[in-house]
């Protein structure tokens, strides 16, 4: 039972990540590898504020969102000049920068969270407190799952409303043909900044949820693997509409769990799973190039 609840929390977290990433990849047509970096930044910001300053979940997450929104300029600004593969490379650089900052921002003899030892480097942050929402703490697995589901639901609602609004329509127009949109007097650069900032601040919520669920955080959450995993979710599920990323998050979380039931030899299990992942992705791209439920294909 607890195992299922745990999976459900994971699903909630990745739904937030995938939906917000879809705003950048599916709605702006910008393929970013750095999204997991912002996810980690959100988690670390929350962890430090909650652990060191004893902040509650809401204010800590608010600050984490703000931090991610500001730092998201690192993805949005290059998109003004870089297109296609060059933009992807640019986001890869941002991802590497975030990862190495988290990995290296440590010093053995200073306390965690001080200016010299902000992230504790490769050792990560342990003992992150459970979230406290205005005094209430979801301590049992069930209450935490409910809490995570409510948070994911609200994030989803915000994104859903934005995507269906005239703003979302403008994003799609810019994705279809940026020059034509500019010719109509639309400030496409500013709108891209808005979209990336909104997506990055929402993924910060997912990071905070993860940190408070696992109660441990290390640089691997900002790794390229993580970035590619979340990208696979939106691509497998499908881009450019609301249900695609949810389907993708579900498939990519459920699949490795199902593979556990195949009694694979322990030593190779991890590798085999990767292999099956890869195969699935390839088959996916071949038979459903728009993803399982997608409306848009990245070029």
């Amino acid at each position: 039972m607890n195992y299922l609840l745990h999976l459900l929390v994971y699903f909630d977290i990745y739904v937030i990540v995938a939906l917000s990433l879809n705003l950048i990849v599916g709605y702006c047509g910008m393929l970013t590898l750095a999204h997991a970096g912002y996810y980690a930044i959100g988690g670390y910001t929350y962890a430090l504020l909650a652990l060191n300053l004893g902040w509650g979940f809401v204010p800590a997450v608010a600050v984490a969102m703000l931090v991610c929104a500001v730092l998201s300029l690192a993805v949005a600004l290059p998109s003004w000049r870089l297109r296609g593969d060059f933009f992807v490379l640019g986001t890869l650089a941002v991802q590497a920068l975030i990862f190495s900052a988290i990995y290296n921002w440590s010093s053995p003899d200073t306390p965690l969270g001080s200016w010299k030892n902000l992230t504790n480097g490769p050792f990560g942050i342990t003992g992150i407190p459970r979230p406290s929402i205005f005094g209430w703490t979801p301590a049992s697995p069930l209450s935490f799952t409910l809490f995570a589901t409510v948070v994911a639901g609200s994030c989803g609602f915000v994104l859903w409303r934005l995507q269906r609004s005239p703003w979302g329509r403008l994003l799609l127009a810019i994705r279809d043909d940026e020059l034509a949109a500019r010719g109509l007097g639309k400030n496409t650069r500013f709108i891209k900044i808005q979209a990336v900032a909104i997506a990055s601040s929402i993924v910060a919520v997912a990071g905070a949820l993860y940190a408070s669920h696992v109660r441990y955080l290390d640089p691997s959450s900002a790794s390229l693997d993580e970035g590619i995993l979340v990208l696979s979710m939106v691509i497998v599920g499908g881009l450019g509409n609301f249900k695609g990323p949810i389907v993708g998050a579900f498939v990519l979380i459920a699949l490795p769990e199902l593979l556990r039931f195949l009694s694979l030899p322990d030593t190779q299990a991890a590798n085999l799973r990767l292999l099956i992942y890869g195969l699935l992705l390839v088959l996916m791209m071949h038979f459903r190039p728009n993803g399982i439920a997608g409306a848009y294909r990245v070029q």
Binding site: L162, S165, W167, L172, D176, D177, R182, L184, N187, T188
Partner: protein, 522 residues
């Protein structure tokens, strides 16, 4: 400089034309790596003028349009936008610190807000969106485009949205597209999409509209529809138009245009006097058949010309080169019972009632055929099917006697198919010399024009010429030469040269032209 100092650009005296200056540019220069395209060009545009901008291929028409709409910076000069209540002027070259001011950029969006709109030759609708959204999204000042409003005050955004949507629907109804509100932008015919693109620019607040080849590629109905729209915009909305168009379409614009600009050696010449060249007298031979005028040049003498009606408004006109026509030999192309689907719908091989009965066509050595068909008939589909880029449902295609319907495109090329797709499909980032080496027929060692330039830097006509040069096989076995709108972007000299080049190929080739059934009828 004052207006009086430029008598050459004084406007013509039509009653509809006001005297308010809406756009003024002075001393515009633009060079691409040493090649001067615009050279100290001055222009003035008055409210309500309808300008026809002409010029040979490569004379700089598109470059001028790009500059005036903020898509390209000139090297020097000034541009004043005076169309709306807040005039703005730019002088070039711009200083680096001007770029720091976020409210003073020379970009398409800033220029658009001065009441400047444009349409592209390749239309550029927002393909994944409905026609209604294509128009509604253009509306400026939509509060729902602020994410905070969209999120926190959806009621406010929605009421705005409702109003804009019904305006967009009304606009579509005026365009004759009532009931098509939900069709997506990439699913409508070329003529329809061109009208939506014009409407979109008007909704975005354009007072001056620049149109790059608005009639190109349209069939007769499409041309009438676009012209009707433009006329009503000029009459009712007092729109100022600058139209770039090529010789084939001058005839249609005759009634609308009141100012002529001729772009020549980097400057604008204004000449009312010169009559618009009449399409049916390009080469002095009166055209008597239902075919474009260049056809008579191809045909030589009219005795060998036959025309046949095909279902759904298409015409197939054939001519042959008497000494090389070999009806007894294996046909170069033989299509039998062809049916091609696009999606679930059959496109090629329909009869008058839309029932699939198969499409037949046989071409022998030394034969030239022109398939003229309205937009949406399926010319591009037929082209793709012949090249092997669209799967066929039924029927056979044989080239030089070997059936090819299940062979891949490269094998077909070896069997004797020389196809020239539309210019948009050339590899944009390759150099001309590289592309010409890719062409299977380029044994020609002579100098290639524009060899060291990339395809994307060529003008529309230059691209078209390059394409044609590469498609024409110079020797070898009889080939099927397949040409998709080969003269679409060419001026009259270039058209004549292209026709000569086509005539100059080995006369035993069979040539099939695919062109929109239009205006070029006489």
């Amino acid at each position: 400089m004052t207006i009086a100092a430029q008598p050459m650009l004084e406007i013509s005296a039509r009653s509809t034309v006001g005297s308010r200056v809406v756009l003024r540019a002075q001393g515009l220069r633009k060079a691409f790596g040493g090649q001067r395209v615009l050279d100290d060009l001055d222009l003035i545009l008055h409210e309500g003028e309808v300008v026809l901008l002409r010029g040979e291929n490569g004379s700089g028409k598109t470059t001028l349009l790009n500059i005036l709409t903020g898509n390209l910076e000139p090297d020097t000069g000034t541009i004043e936008y005076l169309a709306d209540s807040t005039p703005r002027s730019y002088s070039f070259p711009r200083r680096w610190w001007q770029e720091l001011n976020p409210f003073d950029h020379f970009t398409p969006e800033f220029v658009a807000r001065e009441g400047i709109g444009r349409t592209w030759q390749d239309v550029r609708l927002f393909g994944s969106q409905s026609l209604r959204d294509n128009i509604a999204v253009a509306k400026p000042g939509h509060s729902g485009e602020n994410p905070l409003v969209a999120l926190l005050a959806p009621a406010r955004a929605n009421s705005r949205e409702g109003a804009f949507n019904s305006q967009a629907d009304a606009m579509l109804a005026r365009l004759g597209l009532a009931g098509r509100e939900q069709s997506s932008g990439d699913m409508v015919s070329l003529g329809q999409s061109k009208r939506v693109a014009i409407a979109r620019a008007v909704v975005a607040g354009a007072k001056i509209l620049f149109l790059d080849e608005p009639l190109a590629g349209l069939d007769r109905k499409g041309i009438t529809d676009v012209l009707t729209l433009l006329e009503s915009l000029v009459r009712e909305a007092k729109l100022t138009l600058v139209i770039v168009e090529h010789v084939f379409n001058f005839v249609h614009l005759h009634h609308l245009v009141n100012v002529h600009w001729m772009l020549e050696s980097g400057r604008l010449e204004k000449n009312h006097a010169e009559p618009i060249p009449q399409i049916d007298s390009i080469d002095g031979i009166p055209v008597t058949i239902a075919a474009p005028s260049w056809f008579s040049q191809l045909a030589g003498s009219p005795e060998h010309v036959t025309s046949e009606r095909l279902p759904r408004g298409a015409t197939l006109t054939r001519t042959r080169r008497p000494d090389h026509w070999k009806p007894e030999a294996k046909p170069v192309l033989e299509i039998k019972g062809l049916i091609v689907n696009r999606g679930a719908r059959s496109v090629i091989g329909l009869d008058e009632h839309g029932d699939p009965n198969g499409f037949d066509l046989t071409l022998h050595q030394g034969e030239i055929a022109i398939l003229q068909a309205p937009n949406g008939w399926g010319k591009s589909t037929l082209f793709d099917a012949l090249c092997g880029n669209a799967p066929i449902k039924r029927g056979t295609i044989a080239i030089n006697g070997s059936t090819v319907e299940s062979t891949p495109p490269w094998i077909r090329a070896q069997t004797g198919l020389a196809a020239s797709p539309s210019a948009a499909k050339l590899f944009p980032s390759l150099k001309v010399s590289e592309v010409s080496r890719l062409s299977p027929h380029s044994s020609s060692t002579g100098s290639i024009p524009f060899a060291s330039r990339t395809i994307s830097s060529l003008s529309g006509g230059e691209k078209q010429r390059t394409l044609l040069r590469m498609a024409l096989p110079d020797s070898g076995m009889p080939q099927l030469v397949l040409l998709d709108e080969p003269f679409a972007m060419l001026d009259d000299i270039a058209t004549r040269q292209a026709v000569e080049a086509i005539i100059g190929t080995q006369p035993h080739h069979a040539i099939l032209f695919l062109i929109p059934a239009n205006h070029s009828f006489s």
